[in-house]
């Protein structure tokens, strides 16, 4: 009996044979900011991503969904090469940022990460003041010339992250005195301060209460005007609410990629439908 695996593989080969994209038979056209091309990733000898091919549209929100362990976070972290920090890992294939392969041996990861910012699942402010948290990226990258400029950029970032009004009178208190939701918005402000082009969000609201989550989601909608946003979430309602496009991953493979509306209402793959209707995962 063919397993789900074989079915996907068969379909993929079929499509590749006719020159189409494995996950995109009716090619959706948009200006792509990030293109993933036959990208595979290994932890030691275990392959956790299998030749993923996928494009992330510019100034849109793309959600990566799928059950735990499907590789969505690994894929996200591959886009700013955060996985490089994990020992004994290996990548194959290409990921292009504006057409440049970020895995090219000549690429400077520090420059890459300045252009591709990231917000993590658990808010991780530095044990410094609120101001210093936001100023950190500006300082290490030498992005400001003087104190006034620094203060302006910090304020601008905190405003963008919809946190300014709540913290403007306590900028020099420890960031750890903030609530969980505020800490996460501070982490967003910190990432925005260096003005990245792409913003990677790894389940940014998974540890937050509904009100804080709502704030973060509203913020994401605002931010896509300036940034290309890629968000990992295991909350399907959240993906439906915040994203324009959604990619569904399963066991390290891309099963389906489409406009969020279409993927959620008329999934092409049986697997997607099963996942969305809660039959597994």
């Amino acid at each position: 009996m063919p397993t789900k695996f074989d079915v996907i593989r068969a379909r993929a080969t079929e499509r590749e044979a006719i020159g189409g994209n494995a996950a995109e038979p009716h090619a959706i056209s948009f200006p792509a900011k990030v293109q993933v091309e036959r990208f595979s990733f290994y932890y030691g000898d275990v392959r956790v991503l299998h030749e993923i091919t996928l494009s992330f549209p510019r100034n849109q929100v793309t959600a990566l969904i799928g059950p735990s362990g499907c590789g969505k976070t690994t894929l996200l972290r591959a886009i700013n090469r955060m996985n490089d920090l994990i020992p004994d890992t290996r990548a194959e294939g290409r990921i292009l940022l504006d057409g440049e392969n970020i895995y090219d041996p000549q690429v400077d990861v520090v420059r890459l990460r300045r252009r591709v910012g990231m917000v993590f699942q658990r808010s991780n402010p530095f044990p410094k003041t609120i101001f210093e948290n936001v100023a950190y990226g500006l300082r290490v990258n030498g992005l400001v010339r003087n104190r006034r400029e620094l203060e302006e950029r910090v304020e601008e970032s905190l405003r963008q992250a919809a946190l300014w009004e709540e913290v403007k009178d306590r900028l020099h208190e420890s960031a750890l005195t903030l609530s969980g939701g505020q800490q996460q918005r501070l982490c967003i402000a910190r990432a925005l301060a260096v003005r990245p082009e792409v913003l990677l969000l790894d389940e940014p609201a998974s540890a937050l209460d509904p009100i804080a989550t709502e704030k973060i989601e509203a913020l994401i909608g605002e931010l896509k005007r300036y940034y290309t946003i890629i968000i990992v979430t295991h909350n399907m309602q959240q993906a439906a609410r915040v994203s324009d496009y959604t990619a569904f991953l399963w066991m390290g493979r891309l099963v389906e990629f489409n406009q969020t509306e279409k993927l959620f209402t008329v999934p092409r793959e049986k697997l997607t439908e099963d996942y969305l209707t809660g039959r597994f995962g």
Binding site: G44, L85, P87, D88, G137, N141, C187
Partner: protein, 346 residues
């Protein structure tokens, strides 16, 4: 009520007799374990009690601030206190930077220590650049492993061996070498001196510094490192601005523990610089010095009048103990503060 067929339900109640024996079987081993613990506390109590009882009366301003007189049977121990402190300061200057540097290298720059993968990388390499990188990686893994093994084994070497090594390496080889090359054979550094004793002691305490720094670095959450790197910071900036400030209390604890360990050692300084008696305080790196631990040894074995030196001996031991205990207490306090801070964060 249902049960697996064939099982009988047994009553929960047992007779008083059975209960008594049951309790006894349970309690006797626990009692033995407790006894062992009591023994430790009692022994420490006896040792400390004896020293404090006999030594406390000896402690006076004069005892702490004057030199020994009358062939070690009178006077104070100031030169020994001074020598110990000077020794320990020199040792810290030598041991802490090297220890911290080693720990940073081990923890921050050699994350993958799997030789198999490094080897596989090298074998899979096709271009010469890849081969070079693979080769470097294998070397790095080997170096990291060798260093860890060295650190672990260094900690297990008896301190007298360090003393002999210090005599052979620092005093004879390094010191003697300096004399031959710089002073034309004149005896300046090629003799036991405080600098050689301090370096020998530094070697002995290095594992303490490395291990505690390593632990402090490991306790810095990975999330903080990632946050910094994701903002476009380099690895150095991340270590310097985020990791080290977080690890600083742990590093300090390690340094203090090293000092308290080093302050109590006699064997490593025996051949490398400690003097039986010195009429002056050490003021240059190649001076000899008096040391508290060594002074205790001398008072108890080399005294011309054992009965007369006994109170001095008790007093000296009390000062030595007080010094190391105080250092340990400071280390414990710092550690407690760090723990509290870590708890407050999570």
């Amino acid at each position: 009520m249902s049960a697996v067929p064939g099982t009988r339900t047994t009553s929960l109640r047992v007779s008083r007799r059975e209960l008594f024996w049951e309790r006894l079987r349970e309690q006797v081993p626990i009692g033995l374990l407790a006894l062992a613990s009591v023994l430790i506390v009692a022994m420490l109590g006896v040792i400390l009690g004896n020293i404090v009882w006999n030594g406390a009366g000896q402690i006076s301003l004069e005892f702490l601030t004057t030199a020994p007189r009358g062939g070690m049977t009178e006077g104070g121990i100031f030169p020994a206190i001074f020598g110990t402190v000077a020794l320990v300061i020199l040792m810290t200057i030598a041991a802490v930077p090297i220890g911290v540097a080693t720990a940073i290298y081990l923890r921050e720059f050699t994350p993958g220590s799997n030789l198999g993968y490094a080897w596989a990388h090298l074998r899979a390499a096709r271009h010469w650049q890849e081969r070079l990188a693979g080769f470097a990686r294998v070397l790095e893994v080997l170096l990291a492993r060798a260093t860890r093994a060295a650190v672990n084994n260094l900690a297990g070497v008896p301190s007298i061996v360090f003393g002999l090594f210090g005599l052979g390496f620092f005093v004879r080889f390094v010191g003697g070498g300096i004399d031959r090359l710089v002073y034309g054979g004149e005896l300046v550094y090629g003799q036991p001196a405080i600098i050689w004793a301090a370096l020998t002691l530094a070697l002995l305490t290095l594992p303490v510094v490395i291990v505690s720094t390593d632990e402090a670095l490991r306790a810095v959450p990975r999330e903080l490192r990632e946050a910094s790197l994701a903002l476009g910071a380099t690895r150095w900036q991340t270590i310097w601005r985020v990791v080290l400030p977080e690890a600083l209390p742990g590093v300090l604890t390690g340094a203090i523990l090293a000092v308290s360990r080093g302050a109590g050692e006699v064997a490593p300084v025996l051949f490398t610089g400690a003097a039986y008696f010195l009429p002056y305080l050490p003021s240059r790196l190649n001076d000899q010095f008096m040391e508290l631990g060594y002074h205790v040894f001398i008072l108890s074995t080399q005294s011309p009048d054992v009965e007369k030196t006994k109170p001095l001996l008790y007093g000296t031991v009390l000062v030595l103990l007080g010094l190391t205990f105080a250092l340990n207490a400071v280390a414990v306090l710092i550690r407690a503060r760090v723990r509290r801070r870590l708890r407050a964060r999570s």
